[in-house]
Symmetry: C2
Subunit: 148 residues, 2 copies
Amino acid sequence: MARAERVKRPPVVDPLSSLVGYQLRRASNALFGTLIPKLAEHGLSIAEASVLVVIAHHDGITQSSIGRMLDIHRANMAPIAAKLARLGLTLGERRGRELLVRASVSGERVAKQVLVSMRRHDAAHCKQLSAAEREALLSALQQLWAPG
Amino acid sequence: MARAERVKRPPVVDPLSSLVGYQLRRASNALFGTLIPKLAEHGLSIAEASVLVVIAHHDGITQSSIGRMLDIHRANMAPIAAKLARLGLTLGERRGRELLVRASVSGERVAKQVLVSMRRHDAAHCKQLSAAEREALLSALQQLWAPG
DNA sequence: TATTGTTATACTCTATAACTATA
DNA sequence: TATAGTTATAGAGTATAACAATA
């Protein structure tokens, strides 16, 4: 307690600092902000890259399934899927009212690169945390939003 | 490890689940999504309510200081400050190029109500976490974005 | 009826640029 | 020069509504 008074930055002036929601938003914005330019090197937004990764891991998945998995509205999935197809990263096969999507050869390659970028980015931001702390963090975060 | 296989929900299908950045975004969106309607009962957005709370705790603070504290751009602070003033929640006193802001009597009252709403909302979402887990979560989150 | 995919559209949040006034 | 405040505007992300096609 007394030591804190000798620190340059004052202890806590921000009345919102003790709120999980506030800290979540700040941390989320921090990681998002640095991830955007990394994925831009691949010509993709975070949403586009995330969808590509999911498709590469789930051959023949439908747009609706991806949207439910990543919490992206159907209406917003359309332009994302269209861009990935236009870039030649995904191939669509219509079956009835569903559109089964899978990654092309180049799509698989880009998906792997994107996932590596994401993991490197994640590790870089978490380097101040121990492995146990990171696992506890992941577990706590999942409990905050996961169903159940 | 073996116990996890007996859990109802499959282990991990989502290739992004192990990323802190992904979990952060999902958790942040979850808390944000339910906080918005709560603060709308006070006629305020999250940003507006946050700024009001900061003003109530820092008498005579400037817009720039608030912006730096909450990471809100100057250009976006203007309409927020204008709305709080228009609602009679804050009073501004110009000194040179600075505009010192303080909460009005009703502003103080609303700020307290808003902070109570925020804390209740936070507690409701964190009720699955122990006090120790919540503290560890706050600490980890702060390390992810705080300067230094 | 319910679901998939699609388009159009609106709203919020955030970012950039340009300007005035003051230190 | 650097900072504070303001305005206008552009962009991204996300939301609703409506529609056609299919289960």
